[in-house]
Structures are given as structure tokens and as C-alpha cells.
């Protein structure tokens, strides 16, 4: 009964979405206030019905209702409760339900918190949100019904892949979706603006917080996913340029560009049609990600079960949503009013450079992801584009981006003084040169990449410090006065500094862990020792152990440095009976300075065990840096100007089509 309630609630949500997607939009073009006002209650109602559906599916999982096919396929009565709940979105149907739930949360957010939006814009934004919801609800109801019953019910479920029984994986999809779907807000605002033919500073001020929320969630989701693959997959890597990872990285790159270009629209009323395009593209990449993961077009380590019927549906949906919105852009963008002009060397100019680097990077990831498909379609050749391609493309782009990141905040709007910025960055040049020399000396005989990486880290970190010192006039005014300036600085300014420092920390982690990691792959007997990166790892013993739903072989590895015990590590190999699966559990010991990483495999039959040991200096900063970036985003969100009402729109000027930018 509960499952049927969930199913009906979804159908009702679809009906409400049809109302929300039609009447308010028509009302907005005819000036019918009553029809426009329908959008708000409809959006809240849709959230309520989808929440009922999601609750019903969760209930079926919690009580292990094996008359529901989805529960049978993805759950098991012996599973810990938290993974029963995580199992709701650990599969295709449930994850789509989570997707529309999040979509409706954002929609209700606009309905409830968007009181300061002009009525027409609000009605249109919610209308566009409803169109997206209609597509996804139809997709669920027609091809991926999570409430399908099965008769006769089997005695127990078919379990969940034990690789997926992990807190990191349980919670990284919701964050990714909060990010992906969050960019639907920027998309809806962009489409509404194209329909209205109006993009201005007020528009940018409404869009930016939504884009920033989505960006924070997406950054968190990607970082969690990367950390998960680092400590679960047991290969010691943290990013594989896998199509599914690329699918989440493309909207991140486009979304990051969007955040920056929206600033230009807000402050200077320029780059308008480009910002609208980015808003459309960012969400398009989110949709493309969904398509790539679920259609089986590209092979990947973590693709969902594939089904061509679903693929055709999603492709049709993509063509309507992305193709339709880009067509609307092609027709309407030329009519957007021309914005402010600016010199190439200016804050705007540096943000354009930022956007170019990010857009090219995004294009390169798209190309690298689709190239195997292209080659296959044209010539039948099968190839895979791996890390070598992405490394070659990414390193120069990121060097450009980070070099420019130091200058941008020091340049004035409209017309900046490049030489003055260079002079202000004196300290950064000195520190960078010193760090580069030191790295070169320490890493003699290695490739020049670590030197470049460490130089960039030093450059960006000092530049962030220089910019803060400039704003507060530190060292030039008495301390108390600088302190006062620091206290009065808007939180968004600190947010930017933090986020940029976070980028530097990520680069630090990537550079150091890549250049100076040590590893040992081989067989060890009990009592054997190996020296890796200055640490002595001794395999002290291996004993059987039992978990709630698995049996394990638990190794004990003593790690000493200079004769002193620094860690006792317990990597495991686990056997899960349902479904029969073997996994290895990585033992990880993290400090800010280095990670110790050990994996133990099967016995080789002669009393030895396959062992993989890594020491990775500073690798934790990859994720700590991402956390710092998110903290910057959150700080910026808490800025006062997002909490107070946005400025009133200027009455519309003569609406004759003006030349485009």
C-alpha cells in the first residue's frame, strides 16, 4: 500500500508540474496576476508530493519490503540501517527520485524565499523549473518506476554492492545532485531572462547566490567522490579522468566560470549574453553527465546498469532542453542590451581570462570524454583518452589561470593599472622565486613539474596575502586602523580570498603527492619489513575477523620511523556472502604532512601476501584545500548583501533591439 501511495504521489506531482509549467508562464506574458501567483503554491505542493514518494521508497527500504522490486534488487535484511537508507539512492531509479526531490526543494525555495523577485520573473523561473521536473518525472514514471512490485516476493534481497557500503559513497551522490540540480536555478533564471529579453545587475544578484550554493555542494560532492575512490578502490589514485568523474567536473568548470562572470554582470552590467550562455551550459553539462552515466554510451568503472530505452528517452530530453534553450539563446541573445565597456587590463579583463581558461578546460574535458565515441562512430576504432591527454591540456591552462588569479583582484574595474599590480606583487615574485629555487634544489634530477607546481602554490598564496594586505592597508597604517578595516571588509571579500587560497592548497596536495610519493608493491611474509619513504612497515600478523555482514582477514602492520612506532595499521580483505564479493579495505593513516596507505591482498600460496604500500606527502591538502574553497563559498553566501533585498530594478528603458556585445 505504501509503495502505491508513493507511485500516486509521483503522478500527482507530475500533474502539479504541468500546471506550474503552463498557467504562470502564460499569465506572465498576458499580465494575469492570478495565473502568475499559481506558481508558488504549485511548487510547494510538488515538493510535498515528491517528498511523500521519496518517503514511501525510504520506508520500503527501512522495513525491507521485498514485494518492491527495487528493494529486492538493492537491499538485504542483514544490512546496517544506514546503508538501507543510503540504498534508496544507490541505484538508478532511486537516484532519479532523489534528483527530482532536490529539484523540487530548489523550486520551493524560490517560491518561499523569492518574495523580492518581480512577479513575472518569479512565475517564469518557476515555470522553467517545472518543465525540467516534467521531463524527469515522465522519465521516472515511464522508464524507471521505483515502486514496481514483484510477485511472489523473494525471501531476502540481493544485497548492495559492498563497495558501496561506505559512508563516503552513501553521502556523495546527494551532494553531487544538490550541486547538479542547483545549477538548474541559474538555468531557469537564464531562460526566464531570455524570454523577458532582460539581463541586468539585479538579475545577476538574484542568480549568484543560487549558483554559489550549487557550486559549494558540487565542490563538496566531487571532493567526497575523489576521496572515496582514494581510500576504497585501493589503487592509491584519487582522480582517474573516468567519464563519470569528467561528467561531474564539466559542470564544475562551467559553474566556476559562471560565478565569476556573474560578478561582472552584477558590478559592471557587462558580459551579459556570455553569462546567460554559461548558465545554460552549466546545467546542460549536469544533464549530459546524467546521460553519460546512465545510457551506457561510455564505459566506466561506476556506470549504472544500462538500458537503451532509457538512453533514447534521456537523449530526446537533452535535445529538447539543451537544444531548445540554445536555440532560444541564438534568437534572443542578440537583443540583450549592450553593457559597460572595459579595457583589456582591468578586473573585468582578468575575469574574462579566467572564463576563457575555464571554458577551454571544460571544452577539453568534453572533447576528451567524447573523443573515443567520435572515433568509434567515424572509423570503428576503439581507443581511450586517458590521463596523458588531460595532463597535457590541463597543466598549461591551470598555470595560466593561477597566474591570472593573482592579478585579477588587484586590478581596478573598467581600467586597471597593470604595472601597479606587478609592483604590488613584488613580494609574491620574491617568494615564488625562492620556493621555485628551493624545490628545484630538493628535486634535482626530477621533472620540472614539481618546481612549476610549488611555484604556483607560492605565487597564489602570497598574492592572496598581498591582496588582503592591500585592502586593509596593513603595514602602511597603524595596526588598530588596519584591524578596523579588516573587520569592516565584506564577508564576500574574505570568501574570495579563502576560495583562492583553497585552490593553492589543492595544487600543493596534487604536486607534492604526485612528485614525492614512495611506493612498494610486492609480497611480504609475516615478520617481513619494508622501508617506504623513510618509514619501516612490518607485517606483524594476519588474523581472521568478523563484521556485521562479512568475514575478513585483518592484517596488522607496525609502522616505525627512526625506531619509534608511529602507527599500527589494519588493512583487511573482506568477503561478503550476499552477493558473494571480495573487497580490500585500505588502511590509511592521515596527517597534514603525509598519508600512509597500505593494502593487503591474497596469500600467494607460499606464506606471503601481496602488499601495496604508499607514502604520499601532503596529499590530504587536496581535500582540505577543497574544504577551504567550500568554506570560502559559504562565507561569501553569508555576506550581508545576499541577505538584504536586492536593489529595485530600474524601470525598463525603450526596448528597441540594441546591438549586442
Amino acid at each position: 500500500m505504501i509503495a502505491e501511495i508513493g507511485h500516486f504521489a509521483l503522478v500527482l506531482a507530475l500533474m502539479l508540474a504541468l500546471v506550474q509549467g503552463s498557467l504562470p508562464v502564460i499569465g506572465a506574458s498576458r499580465g494575469n496576476a492570478a495565473w502568475m501567483a499559481l506558481a508558488g503554491p504549485a511548487a510547494v505542493g510538488m515538493l510535498a508530493f515528491i517528498a511523500v514518494a521519496f518517503g514511501a521508497l525510504t520506508w520500503a527500504y527501512v522495513v525491507s519490503d521485498f514485494t518492491v522490486l527495487n528493494v529486492v534488487q538493492n537491499s538485504h535484511s542483514a544490512k546496517p540501517l544506514i546503508y538501507k537508507i543510503a540504498g534508496v539512492w544507490g541505484n538508478h531509479e532511486g537516484s532519479m527520485l532523489l534528483w527530482v526531490l532536490i529539484l523540487s526543494v530548489y523550486g520551493a525555495g524560490v517560491a518561499l524565499a523569492g518574495g523580492n523577485l518581480p512577479r513575472g520573473l518569479r512565475a517564469r523561473v518557476l515555470g522553467v523549473q517545472a518543465w525540467i521536473a516534467i521531463g524527469f518525472l515522465l522519465f521516472i514514471l515511464l522508464t524507471s518506476n521505483p515502486f514496481q512490485r514483484v510477485f511472489p516476493p523473494p525471501p531476502d534481497g540481493q544485497g548492495l554492492n559492498p563497495l558501496l557500503q561506505d559512508p563516503g559513497l552513501a553521502f556523495h551522490p546527494p551532494f553531487l545532485y544538490l550541486g547538479y540540480v542547483g545549477f538548474s536555478m541559474a538555468f531557469s533564471f537564464a531562460i526566464a531572462a531570455l524570454i523577458e529579453g532582460r539581463v541586468d545587475a539585479a538579475w545577476a544578484r538574484w542568480v549568484r547566490p543560487w549558483a554559489l550554493v550549487a557550486w559549494c555542494f558540487l565542490t563538496t560532492g566531487i571532493a567526497m567522490g575523489s576521496y572515496w575512490s582514494y581510500y576504497v578502490l585501493g589503487w592509491g589514485g584519487w582522480w582517474f579522468w573516468d567519464p563519470v568523474e569528467n561528467a561531474s567536473f564539466m559542470p564544475w568548470l562551467a559553474g566556476t566560470a559562471l560565478l565569476h562572470s556573474a560578478i561582472v554582470v552584477e558590478k559592471r552590467d557587462a558580459l551579459k549574453s556570455w553569462t546567460v550562455l554559461l548558465a545554460i551550459l552549466t546545467f546542460s553539462f549536469s544533464l549530459l553527465g546524467t546521460f553519460l552515466v546512465r545510457s551506457g554510451v561510455l564505459t566506466s568503472v561506476h556506470a549504472f546498469a544500462t538500458d537503451p530505452a532509457r538512453g533514447v528517452f534521456i537523449l530526446a530530453f537533452l535535445v529538447i532542453v539543451i537544444g531548445g534553450s540554445l536555440l532560444l539563446y541564438a534568437v534572443r541573445a542578440p537583443t540583450l542590451k549592450l553593457g559597460g565597456l572595459f579595457a583589456p587590463v582591468s578586473r573585468e579583463g582578468s575575469l574574462v581570462l579566467n572564463n576563457l581558461a575555464l571554458a577551454v578546460a571544460c571544452g577539453a574535458v568534453l572533447f576528451g570524454t567524447l573523443y573515443p565515441l567520435l572515433l568509434d562512430a567515424l572509423s570503428g576504432q576503439k581507443i581511450s583518452v586517458g590521463p596523458p591527454f588531460f595532463d597535457i591540456v590541463f597543466v598549461p591552462l591551470m598555470v595560466l589561470l593561477i597566474a591570472a588569479m593573482a592579478f585579477g583582484p588587484l586590478l581596478a574595474w573598467k581600467r586597471g593599472d597593470g604595472l601597479d599590480a606587478v609592483a604590488k606583487l613584488r613580494a609574491a615574485f620574491v617568494v615564488t622565486a625562492a620556493v621555485a629555487l628551493a624545490t628545484w634544489w630538493l628535486a634535482r634530477g626530477q621533472s620540472p613539474l614539481p618546481v612549476l607546481g610549488m611555484a604556483l602554490v607560492a605565487w597564489l598564496l602570497t598574492a592572496v596575502a598581498v591582496e588582503l594586505a592591500q585592502r586593509t592597508k596593513a603595514f602602511r597604517l597603524p595596526f588598530a586602523e588596519s584591524w578596523g578595516r579588516a573587520m569592516r571588509m565584506p564577508r564576500a571579500a574574505y570568501g574570495m580570498s579563502l576560495a583562492h587560497a583553497g585552490v593553492a592548497l589543492v595544487v600543493l596536495g596534487i604536486t607534492a603527492s604526485g612528485a614525492w610519493q614512495s611506493e612498494k608493491l610486492g609480497a611480504m611474509k609475516i615478520g617481513d619489513s619494508a622501508e617506504v619513504g623513510g618509514y619501516v612497515f612490518t607485517l606483524a600478523g594476519i588474523e581472521p575477523a568478523r563484521g556485521p555482514n562479512y568475514e575478513a582477514q585483518r592484517a596488522t602492520i607496525d609502522v616505525t620511523r627512526g625506531g619509534r612506532l608511529v602507527a599500527v595499521m589494519h588493512p583487511e580483505t573482506r568477503h561478503y556472502p550476499v552477493p558473494p564479493t571480495d573487497t580490500t579495505e585500505v588502511a590509511l593513516q592521515t596527517t597534514p604532512v603525509r598519508d600512509l596507505y597500505a593494502v593487503v591482498g591474497e596469500p600467494d600460496g607460499n606464506g606471503a601476501y601481496a602488499v601495496r604500500i604508499y607514502t604520499k606527502p601532503l596529499i590530504a591538502w587536496i581535500w582540505l584545500g577543497a574544504a577551504v574553497m567550500v568554506a570560502g563559498g559559504v562565507l561569501s553566501l553569508s555576506d550581508r548583501r545576499h541577505r538584504v533585498g536586492a536593489p529595485k530594478r530600474q524601470p525598463r528603458a525603450a526596448s528597441a533591439p540594441a546591438p549586442a556585445e
Partner: protein, 178 residues
């Protein structure tokens, strides 16, 4: 409408066509990072009653070998089985097998029913060796050259055409290379 504003929609149209085509392509041959590299070192116990087992040392004895990864629970393996049997009767190349995540009793029954083309069988019950080989899915077939390097990999079942046009010519070429 100005031309430059239509560029995004034009690019998207191409991408959409490509994705549409992609739905109907079969990503079967996945290039392996291991091609041209030595086989991973491993040691697998035999299928009871079918001595000997299979280890990496067996691939470094100076002969060209076909390595087939199969499992009794895999339907396409059943489809390619007659082709392997046919090949084994020609005595051109020894066929070694990795039985992937399988039950020995089922494997026993399967070989008794359909015939045994393999001169060595290693039981990879946990699938751990499969991971080292980069196994995407069963069946997979590898050609190993005289020096123990992986020369070719196919994901998915072999067809008679694959055998005649790709695998046998390659094996002859590798053997001729001495």
C-alpha cells in the same frame, strides 16, 4: 539572428548526433593499458581433476599463448566455446584459461558437457587476478607473445571472423617472429 549566437546550438547538434550514434555502438574492444606490457605476475590453483594450474611463469616459456577468461555463469562464454574448441583441435596455439569467480563443480560439469579446449586452467575464485589483468567482463581473450608480453586483448565473445581475421593472423605473425 546573428551567426555567432547560433554557434552553441550548432555544436550541441553535433554532440547530440554523436550521442545518438553512441547509443547504438558497442564498446566491445577496450584498449588495455597492459598491451605491450608483461603479463601481471600471478599464481592460480588448478581446477580439481584438471592439473596443472596456471601461473605467470607458464607464459614466459617462449611460446605464443592464447589466454581466455571465462566463467560458467556467463552466457556469451557459451557462445564462443565452440570456436575455442575448434582452435584447440588445430594445435596451432595452446589455450590457457582463467576461470573467473566460478564454482569448481560447475566448471567441471561445464567442461564435461561442452568439451575442454584448455591445456591449463587457473581458478580465480576471488577475481583478484582478474583485477590485475584489467578484466572488464567475461569473456575476455588475450594473445601473449613469446616474451610473455600481452599482444592483444578482446573484450566480449570471439566470433569465427575475429578468429580468422584478427587472432590467427596475429598468432602466426608472432610465431614467425621467432
Amino acid at each position: 539572428m546573428r551567426v555567432q549566437y547560433a554557434v552553441p546550438v550548432a555544436i550541441f547538434a553535433l554532440v547530440a548526433l554523436l550521442l545518438g550514434a553512441g547509443l547504438y555502438l558497442n564498446p566491445r574492444e577496450i584498449p588495455s593499458a597492459l598491451i605491450g606490457r608483461p603479463v601481471p605476475s600471478f599464481q592460480l590453483p588448478p581446477l580439481p581433476g584438471h592439473d596443472p594450474g596456471f601461473s605467470s611463469a607458464d607464459l614466459k616459456e617462449g611460446q605464443v599463448v592464447l589466454v581466455n577468461v571465462f566463467a560458467t555463469w556467463c552466457v556469451p562464454c557459451r557462445a564462443e566455446h565452440p570456436i575455442l574448441l575448434e582452435l584447440s583441435k588445430r594445435h596451432e596455439v595452446p589455450i590457457f584459461a582463467i576461470d573467473y569467480k566460478d564454482d569448481p563443480k560447475m566448471a567441471e560439469a561445464w567442461l564435461a558437457e561442452f568439451g575442454n579446449p584448455y591445456s591449463r586452467i587457473g581458478m580465480d575464485k576471488s577475481g583478484r587476478v582478474g583485477i590485475d589483468w584489467g578484466v572488464y567482463g567475461v569473456p575476455e581473450t588475450y594473445v601473449i607473445d613469446r616474451t610473455g608480453n600481452i599482444a592483444f586483448k578482446q573484450v566480449g565473445p570471439l566470433t569465427a571472423d575475429d578468429m580468422e581475421q584478427k587472432i590467427l593472423p596475429l598468432i602466426r605473425q608472432l610465431k614467425a617472429r621467432g
